[in-house]
């Protein structure tokens, strides 16, 4: 019996469909959710969400958020989420470099301390996206087709 899985970010609905298993990066550790799981409410860390249905697996990056698990449903409210297939490696790379650059500047400038966290978060986010895209992104998708 599959369950319903929905991933929504603040600006759109990222994924909505059936799932046999969902793996989530909870703040207390990675959890694998199967149907009929007992209700859980958990916050999420930076990481990957895997949604398995039949013999396909979709992978999403998530940059924090909350998940609500009900026996027949998994709802993920993400601060930002993206299907790995959608990530543009080129753009992710430039974003990461920009964040690194900013971080270097911020380290010297005491006025930037507030911004520091922000940029650090951006860096973490873009590194995550980049790694995810390299591992699971379009390239591997193309391999499968070949």
């Amino acid at each position: 019996m599959p369950m319903r899985c929905e991933i929504v970010s603040q600006d759109r609905s990222v994924f909505s469909g059936e799932a046999d298993m969902v793996v989530l990066p909870g703040t207390e550790g990675v959890m694998g959710i199967l149907p009929r799981h007992s209700p859980v409410l958990s916050s999420l860390n930076y990481g990957l969400i895997r949604v398995r249905y039949k013999d396909t697996e979709q992978i999403f990056t998530v940059a924090g958020g909350v998940v609500e698990v009900l026996p027949d449903r998994v709802t993920i409210l993400a601060d930002a989420a993206e299907n790995v297939q959608e990530i543009d490696i080129q753009r992710a790379e430039t974003a990461r470099q920009r964040a690194e650059e900013l971080l270097r500047q911020a380290a010297d400038d005491p006025k930037m301390s507030e911004k520091f966290l922000e940029v650090e978060a951006a860096l973490r986010r873009s590194t995550l996206r980049l790694n995810a895209a390299r591992r699971f992104g379009r390239v591997s998708g193309r391999d499968k087709n070949d």
Binding site: E6, V8, D11, T27, S38, P39, L41, S43, E68, T75
Partner: protein, 300 residues
């Protein structure tokens, strides 16, 4: 009657004005579309977040779940967040919002403070010497959640500190191109039940799961994270809705202005042609008179 040159100048200036209003109208039309799309796009998240809160509220022992959800026995001071636009030329958009807020809170027995979002609203509040604790002006045209979350944070912090016992949010709700309505809702303490009846977040699916959640990390921490986030989300939604309304109001105002301008141009042109014709007739009469005089002189 005005001279022909003055009239020509007048017509030209009205035409220029009409061009400007026409351009503003077109621009606003595209902004409205963008803004409403954004409202639509953020709806799934809002719906889900709301559903989650409802599930929480239906948990046993929810009454003292979180300080942000608890009504305070005595209301000693009120905070109102008023969302208006930075720019004018939007008809009665800003004044309607202000009037709504003023009618509701202007004669309140307890002190009311304001947070102004948008320059027009701020200016109006200052002119009336209302107590203004913060302003957020020059929000970007296509606002994102990050831009408005400081508003939510400010409100939540001040509420938790006990500076205010109730927080209201005033914004112009976008119903349609033709109808925008100034609305005031209570932001804090968050009323999970009442807002459901308003149906602002659509119909929430009834669940038959009466089972109790386990929380990871603790319930306290999780709610402290979730509830303020939801408050910011509500502010975000309100800002989006208000922006859509602003552009719709401006579009209607500009269309009226364009219509009036073309009416005026028609009227002025008629007048101008009359004057011109009159002048030509006079000239012709002069020439004819002159020629007549000449030919009479030649005959003699």
């Amino acid at each position: 009657m005005a001279s022909i040159r003055e009239m020509r100048q007048r017509i030209r200036s009205v035409k220029n004005l009409a061009q400007v209003t026409k351009a503003l109208e077109t621009v606003s039309a595209s902004y409205v579309r963008k803004a409403t799309q954004k409202v639509q796009a953020s709806r799934p998240y809002a719906d889900k977040a709301w559903e989650l809160l409802l599930h929480l509220a239906s948990q046993p022992g929810h009454t003292n779940l979180h300080p942000l959800l608890a009504n305070r026995p005595e209301v000693n001071s009120i905070l109102v967040v008023m969302i208006t636009s930075d720019r004018g030329l939007a008809g009665a958009y800003n004044i309607n919002m202000f009037r709504e807020v003023y009618n509701r809170f202007g004669k309140s027995p307890v002190p009311v403070s304001y947070v102004a979002v948008g320059k027009k609203g701020r200016d109006m509040l200052i002119r009336r010497r209302m107590s203004l604790i913060a302003d957020f002006i020059h929000l970007p045209g296509s606002v994102s959640y990050i831009d408005v979350s400081p508003i939510g944070r400010l409100v939540v912090d001040d509420f938790l500190k006990g500076d205010f016992d109730e927080v209201y949010l005033g914004y112009t709700h976008f119903h349609s191109m033709a109808r925008q309505e100034p609305t005031i809702t209570r932001l804090l303490p968050l009323e999970v039940k009442a807002a459901q009846e308003n149906g602002r977040y659509g119909k929430v699916e009834e669940t038959n799961h009466r089972s109790v959640f386990s929380y990871e990390p603790g319930q306290e921490e999780l709610l402290s994270d979730l509830v303020p986030r939801f408050i910011s989300l509500q502010v975000y939604h309100a800002v989006l809705s208000a922006q859509a309304s602003e552009h719709a109001a401006r579009m209607v105002a500009m269309r009226n202005a364009s219509d009036n301008a073309s009416e005026l141009i028609k009227h002025l042109n008629l007048e101008y042609n009359k004057v011109r014709q009159n002048m030509i007739t006079n000239d012709m009469l002069d020439i004819a008179g002159g020629a007549e005089a000449l030919s009479q002189a030649a005959e003699e």
